[in-house]
């Protein structure tokens, strides 16, 4: 099984040059990577055969945690904020997941949607706490005592996102190669057999669900800092749909797929704005259907080195 490592390294190098070559893409890429974390979370679950139509809620939980800790609890350090927000999202994932991963197929998708819509409705209705549909503002955090201006912080955040992408991407990759990671995809192909091997599908899924929630939460926290504002629509079901779309477009075959999909979509969006702002959804809708028809392994499948036996992702 050969991986297209050189290609990925080249892509990464290109990405690192963005702030120099295209300064105004810096924000776009930062956001893309942040969303890429959430898409990676969704892709993890897709490997286990589960489609979550509610994962934007963990993105939102991470984002709101950052906004809350910053504005109400007076936490201003970036590291603390990221760790705490990710932990909050992971905890939420653990709690909701304990109940949700008992279900499969459409019911899993549906129940995730149900929970996410409760979160969405609460964030948009509890005006006194969450700022309602206005959302909450996120101040520029300090970084271990360093208090950068917004511009300096944006630059820092960009490279931090890339760093986190590489480090966490590698960790997730290792997780997928570990027995527990293989057990996850085994749930998709044959859960009964897995149980008969003595492995708890529930625990396996709950682990991956919690990891996916943590990834989405981290993405949300990064996005909150980058945008400087959090909003209920982060948790709306169409956002969850977009996360699934990003994961599938990128290809769930490898960890890189989620980020490739996300960066690809955001850059395409930037390019298309003005040209096709009216028909943006139409374009990505068509793109999605084309990918489902012609590229079952997503964009990542295109750049991935050919393997001996081609297999369906069996989505």
């Amino acid at each position: 099984m050969r991986k297209p490592i050189p290609l990925l390294v080249a892509a990464l190098a290109l990405l690192l040059l963005v702030p120099v070559a295209f300064p105004h893409l810096k924000f776009v890429i930062t956001l893309a990577v942040a969303k890429g974390f959430a898409a990676l979370g969704v892709a993890l679950l897709l490997r286990g055969g589960l489609i979550s139509l509610g994962h934007a809620m963990y993105f939102a939980i991470g984002a709101y945690a950052t906004a809350f800790l910053g504005s109400k609890a007076g936490v201003s350090d970036l590291v603390l904020l990221l760790v705490a927000s990710t932990a909050v999202a992971a905890l939420a994932g653990l709690v909701f997941g304990a109940f949700l991963v008992r279900y499969r197929a459409i019911f899993f998708a549906m129940l995730n949607l149900a929970v996410s819509m409760v979160i969405f409705a609460l964030t948009s209705k509890l005006y006194g706490i969450t700022g309602g549909t206005d959302g909450l503002r996120v101040a520029v955090p300090t970084v271990l005592g360093w208090a950068p201006g917004k511009a300096a912080f944006d630059g820092f955040l960009f490279y931090l996102c890339i760093l986190l992408m590489v480090v966490l991407g590698w960790l997730v990759h290792r997780y997928l190669q570990s027995p527990l990671g293989h057990a996850l995809s085994a749930i998709h192909t044959n859960e009964v057999r897995l149980e008969y091997l003595g492995v708890s599908a529930w625990q396996t899924l709950l682990t991956s669900y919690t990891i996916s929630a943590a990834l989405a939460g981290l993405g949300g926290a990064l996005a909150a800092m980058s945008i400087g504002h959090v909003l209920p629509e982060f948790a709306f079901w169409t956002e969850s749909g977009h996360l699934v779309l990003t994961a599938v477009l990128g290809g769930i075959g490898g960890v890189a797929g989620a980020f490739i999909g996300s960066v690809f979509l955001e850059i395409l969006h930037t390019v298309a704005v003005g040209v096709a702002a009216e028909a943006w959804n139409l374009i990505i809708g068509l793109a999605l259907i084309c990918v489902i028809f012609f590229l079952p392994r997503g964009i990542y499948g295109l750049i991935e080195a050919r393997r001996g036996s081609t297999k369906e992702t069996g989505l």
């Binding site: 924000f27 005006y127 549909t133 503002r137 511009a151 945008i227 400087g228 909003l231």
Partner: protein
Amino acid sequence: MPKPKFRLAMTAAAAAALMTGAGWAQDKPARLDLGVFTFLSGPSAAYGLPGKQGAELMIERINAQGGIGGVPVSATYVDEAQGAEGVIAEYRRLAEGGRAQAMIAALSSGNCLALSPLADQLKMPTIGWNCDTHQLFLKDQPDYFYRPNGNTIAEFMAYTLYFLQQHPEVKRVAIINPDYAFGHDAAEIVKATLKAVRPEVEIVAELYPKLGASTYQTEISRLSAARPDVVFSNLWGGDLENFVRQAGPRGLFRQSAVVLALGETVMQRVDLPEGTIVGVLGDGWWMSPDARTIGEAEPFAAAYREKYGSDPVFPTIKMANSLIVLKAAYEKAISDNDGAWPDREQVVAALEGLSVQTLTGTTTFRDDNDGVVDQVIGTVGRAEGVDRPVMTGMVRYDGEALLAPVGQDPIAWIGTLTPDFLADLPRPGSYN
């Protein structure tokens, strides 16, 4: 209430700009690019589109008169319906990509709250053309964000005072506002004002349907059941239209006096029953006596009618006034800069304390970047020789009097008012 002094200053500045025009051709950009943020789709577009059209027309007219300091103006329009995340991304794209030198942003209070820190971070002169929430300048004092069209404190105090003047016997008030800062702010101000000047009034229902709701039938039942003397609402855009159309057949307008803070925007589109109290959130009523005195609103409206087939509404005027303010700021900055094209800091410096005569009155920036404007309110009625309802029984409250002093918590300030405050105000019908 035009203030001749400022008018003179303006004319002088314009003349100075013209005279020195030839000298700074080198530094002048070929074009002054603006980012204009408004709702272009969804229910809110009913309010946002007239704003966009106001910008188009105003820019056309500015360019026809030689642009700003000889530089033609062009605008990129951004749809706020895509949500604050997209709005912020667009703002940054325009600012960091060098595709805008100044912004007219935004319509929604939520978006303004999100954009105002960004204006400072990106050092981008921004005119908040419509975002009225008083929270905007409460939390922080941005240097680059200016709001020329007034804030919720003056606006909703004015409505409350007006309906108390019109309906002195009112005992029960119900509120139905959209569920975001603008709606909640307004309710808070109305309640605070009532408590200060008419404490015996009871709030019998407080509803906050979500922005963009398509049906209000249950809310209407709830309002009917509460039997209020006055129903107050600052719903707007398509929401307001829907509400009026749905509440009409169900007798709400017969049962209670209805105050529609943004009623003027829908007067052309739906039949507002006579007696409905409507306003324009500020002084942007193009047919007001002051507008007639100034004399520019009428030709503007004629051109608007020519171009878009309907009369302008107050969002149109707010937008046009915002462009006038921006133009004045540039011209002042140019003259302060000895005729050379100003950089952004100079434009912002020019905005400081600026006082500008607009199409409909005067706006003067306070120390907190808030523009003080008067408040015009009226009641839907009939006028001779006009075949459709118009605003009657109008009043024009002095804007300064309805604002807390800079730095004071406005809600607490309202709490210090007494019933005498109401007695000292001009009466409905005094402004004709």
